[in-house]
Every structure is written in structure tokens, then in C-alpha cells.
Amino acid sequence: MAEVAIIGTAALPVGKHQSPPGSDLQVLEHEVMARLVTEAVTDAGLSKEDVEALVFAQCRPYTLQKYFSTFMAHYLRLPCPGVVMEVLGNGMTGGYAFDRAADEVRLGRAKVALALGINFETAISAAEHANSSMRATGDVDFHTPFGFTPISWYAMDAARYIHDHGSSREALAAVAVKNRAHAALNPIAQFRKPITLADVLGQPQIVSPLGLFEVPPRGDGAVCLVLASEAVAKATGRPYVLIRGRGYHHEGAHQISEIPNDMTAFLAPQTAGAAAYADAGVTAADMDLAEIYAPCTIVEVLASEALGLAPRGRGAQAAVDGETRLGGRIPICTSGGLQSRGHPSYVTPLYSVFELAEQLRGRAGDRQVANARLAVTSCELGNYNAALVHVLEAKS
């Protein structure tokens, strides 16, 4: 089994890129994607002929071109002995693309595989989009009729967390302030103007107790990651990032467990995180930074506790105390996270790996974590009912 490395990256700044319907000139997803593929492969120091597999995050239904992966193999004129496919798994979609592309390399089916995708959705209004997304995060016959939205579940996590652990909305809001400060240093972040705690608390409520700055904005984005066997990575003579450990767990529940449990304990990232650390032969205390899929502030808090980066019930306070800020004990979401870097959902986990690849190759500029060697990233399904966790390591 080959060790797998990340050796090249390219990402579109997150923002509004999708053309309104009826525009004279349209931004075409495959043109954007193709440019990123060439940039990422160049960044890796490879050429077209080296690429042997393509694993795409599936596009949103608002992307006109269907069977995007096989269309792109044609558009790029790229014969592949490894798989050409697209994967889907709600917010974990990009994570599955990364994981599946790594498998192609690990199993020796491809020496070089691309994990990539494009998520365009901003031409569709939030309320219209929610008509679809509400059917993804609940039972369509026993939850959706009541009006639950994807983030309403996280809001209930926030309410319970505050109740159980004596936390507060103000403490949770510190996460949004911290993430915006990180985004201010990230050239590909969607929202970069620094904000204060008062700014966060003054926003309109979206799902109480969470306001506009504590939930994810909608955005368009695209990422291409070049994965290769470590032998290929070493031959490039450039710094690379090794996938050091991996863990996955689905708790067998969707949104809530019908058997009452501690909803905010996040069993899946606890289990998947422990597996990933064990696979890597490290512990949470060894991590230099973390990039967590966390649509809302509360989710970053709960996932960071589940991943062992903060003690149970202390994750929000860690943000208040600056422990999770750049320069702190364990910087979390140096990209700006989903609230400020942005959340083009199906490719968001690819943006997480992109950020860690920047950090672990020393390319993160003003937001560089000094001497970053080990990092952890996670992504999820539902109300973190499933988690996919990777531990990454800097190599040079």
C-alpha cells in the first residue's frame, strides 16, 4: 500500500461567481474547473500525462452540465487507467472525493489522482435552495413537514450546549470574530473585513440563538488537489504533505438519535478522530493546527471538543481566551472557516485540505502557523452524525 501525498493545489476565491439566469455572458463551470486543474498540476511540478484518476465532488443540481466528471475527462482529453467518477455525501462530498482519490493512489491504481470539484449555487436564492436542502437534513415525512432547516439542528445544539455547560451566546460568537480575523489574512476568503463581538451580536437572528455572522454564507467555489504516491512526491524535490492518518465513523443516526443521548457530544468525530490519531500514531496534543468543517460557530466548538482539541464544555471558552486564534495554543480554521472563508458546501472539505496544504508547505503568508508540522481536518454528514477525519503531516 502506497503512502499518499498532496503535492499540488489550486482554489478559486470563494464568492459569487455563478451567473444569474439569462445573463448574456455566463460563467461556465467546466471552464473554471479546467483552469484550476492546469494550475494545480503545474503547482505539483507534473504534467498532464502524469494524471491517472479523477474523483470529483458532484456538482449542485443548478449546474447545467450533467455527468460532469466524464464530461471533464473529455474536455481535458485525459485518458485514465484509474477511476473517473463523482461522489456525493452532503457536506462530506468534498471529503469523500479527497478520500476516494487517495484510495486510488494507496491501492496502486493511479500514481497521481486529482480530488476536485466545483460548487456553483449563488444564482439560486437562499429560500429556494432551502426548499431542497431541508430534505437533506431530516426525515422528509417526520421532520421536514415541521420546517427544520439544515442549520436549525446546529442551533438546537447551541441551545443545549449553553444549557448543559454554562456557556453563552457571547462565548459562541467569539468563534465568529476569531474566524473573521483569520479570513482577513486569507486572499481567497469570501468575507475579509474584521468584525467585533458587538457586530456579531447585533446581527439579525437566523436560527436562534445564532445570528447572521454565526451561520455560513452561501458562496461559489472550486478546488483541485493533486494527490500522488510518496515516491512521486519525493521525486518532485518540492515540499509536500503526507496523509498520515485517517478515520471514519457513522453513528447510525440522522440528525437526532431516536434513543436519547448527549446530542452535543458528537460521537462520530470523537470516534473517527481517535481512529485517525491512532492510524497516524499521534495524539490530539501533537496537532499544530486544525481545519474543521463547521457551518456554525457552535459546530466548531463541538467538533473541536470531540477531536480532543479542547476539553468537553470548554471549546467556546477556548475561543474567548484566544487559544484557537492564530498564535494561540491550537489555531482552528486559519482559513476563516465556513462563516468567513466561505462555504460552497460540496467542495468545502476540499478547501479545508487546501488550507492545510498551504500551511504545511509554509505558503500561508500572513496567517502562517509557525513551524506547522501536523494538522487535523474533519468533515461531516447531518448533525455530525458521521465524520471523516484526516491527519496531515508536512514533509520536505
Binding site: 429560500a127 417526520f142 420546517g147 444549557h163 437566523i206 436560527v207 440563538p209 434513543i259
Partner: protein, 144 residues
């Protein structure tokens, strides 16, 4: 004993589907009873009702009536609602732990502009009789 039945002068925004199997649930609900299935083999309950027991995968299940009382485990008010629900926003919703040891998610009947009830407050399930069929909701148990 029938649950309170509240008439709602509108149709359901997103009506649940009814199958041959779940029809008794919705019929019982319209009549004022919250029901689900219990496994005849392992005796565990499930919600929503299912034709197989998710715990032991037996298909020997029977209908039971729930007390329809429990504790408010979590709650939120949805201000940014999907387009289908826009005329109902803001929408209070909740997670309730029923006395039988089942966790469900449903509407919460409270003033959306007032502070939400404290968590762990006792709640009861009521029937919402819409023009096109029933749903259910939780509300704090009125003081005796």
C-alpha cells in the same frame, strides 16, 4: 384519552406522505393519539414507526400508544425559513425526549417573539388539525 386537537385554518406547507404501513399512525393522530411501533422480539420502541425493528431487524412489530409527554431537550426559532414555509416564519421547533425514552423532533407551540421556554421544561404533544390532515407539535404543559 385524546390529546388536545387544535384546528389550523390552512393546509400543511409540506405534507408528509402516507404509506400503507404509516397510514395507521396518521389516522390515530387525527383521532387524538400519538402512536409508534414496538418490537415484539426485543421490545424496543422506535420513532418514526417502522415495519422492521431498527434495533434487531425483526419484522414482528406492533402498534402502541405513547403517553405524549416528555421534556424539552432543545429548541430554536427558525427566522430564515425555506420558501415553502416563508409565510409561517418565524417557526419555533424543538427536540423532545418522550417519557418512553424516545427522542423526537417537532414544532414547538410558543410565541416566537418571546424567550423560549427553559430546556428540560415538561411538554406535551398536541395534534394540529390542518385542513388537509394532521401534524403534531409540542407545547409546555399548562400549569394545573
Amino acid at each position: 384519552m385524546s390529546l388536545p386537537i387544535l384546528s389550523i385554518a390552512r393546509r400543511r406547507a409540506f405534507p408528509p406522505r402516507t404509506s400503507r404501513f404509516t397510514a395507521p399512525f396518521w389516522e390515530s393522530l387525527a383521532g387524538g393519539a400519538l402512536t409508534t411501533t414496538a418490537c415484539a422480539r426485543c421490545e424496543k420502541l422506535t420513532f418514526p414507526p417502522k415495519p422492521i425493528c431498527p434495533h434487531c431487524w425483526s419484522s414482528d412489530v406492533r402498534w402502541i400508544e405513547l403517553s405524549a409527554k416528555g421534556l424539552l431537550y432543545a429548541a430554536t426559532v427558525i427566522h430564515a425559513a425555506p420558501a415553502i414555509f416563508s409565510d409561517e416564519a418565524p417557526i419555533p421547533v424543538c427536540v423532545v425526549d418522550l417519557a418512553e425514552g424516545l427522542r423526537i423532533a417537532t414544532r414547538l407551540l410558543v410565541n416566537p417573539d418571546a424567550p423560549l421556554p427553559a430546556l428540560d421544561t415538561p411538554v406535551e404533544i398536541v395534534v394540529l388539525a390542518y385542513e388537509d390532515g394532521p401534524l403534531f407539535a409540542a407545547r409546555p404543559i399548562p400549569a394545573a
